[in-house]
Symmetry: C2
Subunit: 208 residues, 2 copies
DNA sequence: AGCTTAACGGAGCGCTGCGCTCCGCAATAT
DNA sequence: ATATTGCGGAGCGCAGCGCTCCGTTAAGCT
């Protein structure tokens, strides 16, 4: 052991569990068995269920962390001097840590007040990032912040079949294509109406 | 009844079953219950299992039909005078009938010889479509036919949550963005290596 | 009209695989 | 030496699946 004591082990277990849960849920989907998380974390079922009384509680904690990380990414993007690079970094980063993969949990788990708060804050930061790109004229103007959010979600979806490095590589190429498509002047216009905020939020369960 | 006789009903049932199976599998995934298909088709379990001895057999039939349709779409695209419009029509059409949604069946069902044959033919037609666009200079040259195939697959993935028309609309906007990205000169170059044919085919099970 | 027969719908069987509990054991603290 | 804490994992109860089987219905035949 790197550090002595049971408390230290407990702390390490907790981190390993969150890491494992993130990987398992984002690669296998939400109905992945809890035992798979325990196994990947190198931890027994007993230890898992002592920290999280239920699978839902674990998912809620995981969602919250993912949202906080997304918020950090958006703020980091705003820090960047170049509005386009700031946005691109945010999108690529969000896809890299599969931010959107936990969104379809909608209706499956109860959304806590804290989750709503962080989601709201993260959404606003992303909106500022998108607005800045729009004002700088580096992002096609017929695209909204929800289009960006759905793009991230789309590229965060768990891959079918066994995990393969080739898949991630292929996905990054497609993401690069999509990002190039976002830069285009876009005078052609996108089809249909932009996604409505009401629909977007309703997918997560009912408003607070 | 529109036509009399048991044979007529059987034929109608067969069509309804295939339609229902396509919709259920593409929107819910492959482990959707067989009973959901029977219900959507307005048919009892008995009738379903008289035509298809097993769920796998139904899936095989469905895959084959999807591949044949994809082949038709590719040939229709080649017929089109404008190389770009031909390709775009193929991509949009394939996404519309969720051609790629059945690909992740890989490893789940046994791939028949006939399926391999049709898949090969459809792949070749798509390759011609892509090559023509490349030669005409309307498709960025750092993109391969497998990138296109994976793009279609990506946009064919079943949507999370309950089916909503808004989702399809939002997806079409993202697809339009991606298509614009495909037209760009692309001198920037895509990241990583293009997907290898070996990996792509291996996902379907072992070669014939 | 009566009889035969084929196709129908759907209840339910057997089983797999899940979330979660419980308990014997090992490692620490006193 | 004893008490206590946290550990791993076997197994319980159950939900939901693929598939079968059978009573019922209705078309075809004479």
């Amino acid at each position: 052991m790197s550090t002595r004591g049971r408390q230290a082990e407990a702390a390490r277990n907790d981190l390993a569990l969150l890491r494992a849960a993130h990987e398992v849920f984002t690669t296998q989907g939400f109905d992945a068995p809890v035992s798979a998380i325990a196994r990947k974390a190198g931890v027994g079922m007993g230890s898992l269920y002592r920290r999280y009384r239920t699978k839902e509680e674990l998912l809620q904690r995981l969602c919250l962390i993912a949202m906080e990380r997304s918020l950090e990414r958006a703020e980091a993007g705003l820090t960047h001097a170049d509005p386009w690079e700031g946005l691109a970094l945010y999108v690529r980063g969000s896809v890299a840590d599969k931010s959107g993969a936990l969104a379809p949990v909608a209706g499956t788990i109860e959304v806590t007040d804290e989750m709503w708060r962080v989601a709201r804050t993260a959404g606003e930061a992303a909106a500022r990032l998108v607005a800045r790109a729009h004002e700088a004229g580096v992002l096609r103007n017929d695209v909204t912040r929800l289009d960006i959010a759905l793009l991230i979600e789309q590229f965060s979806r768990p891959a079918p079949g066994p995990p393969a490095p080739e898949h991630d590589q292929a996905e990054q190429r497609l993401l690069a294509v999509a990002l190039d498509g976002l830069r285009a002047p876009g005078t052609t216009g996108l089809p249909g109406e932009p996604p409505s905020p009401e629909w977007y939020e309703r997918r997560w369960g009912h408003a607070p």
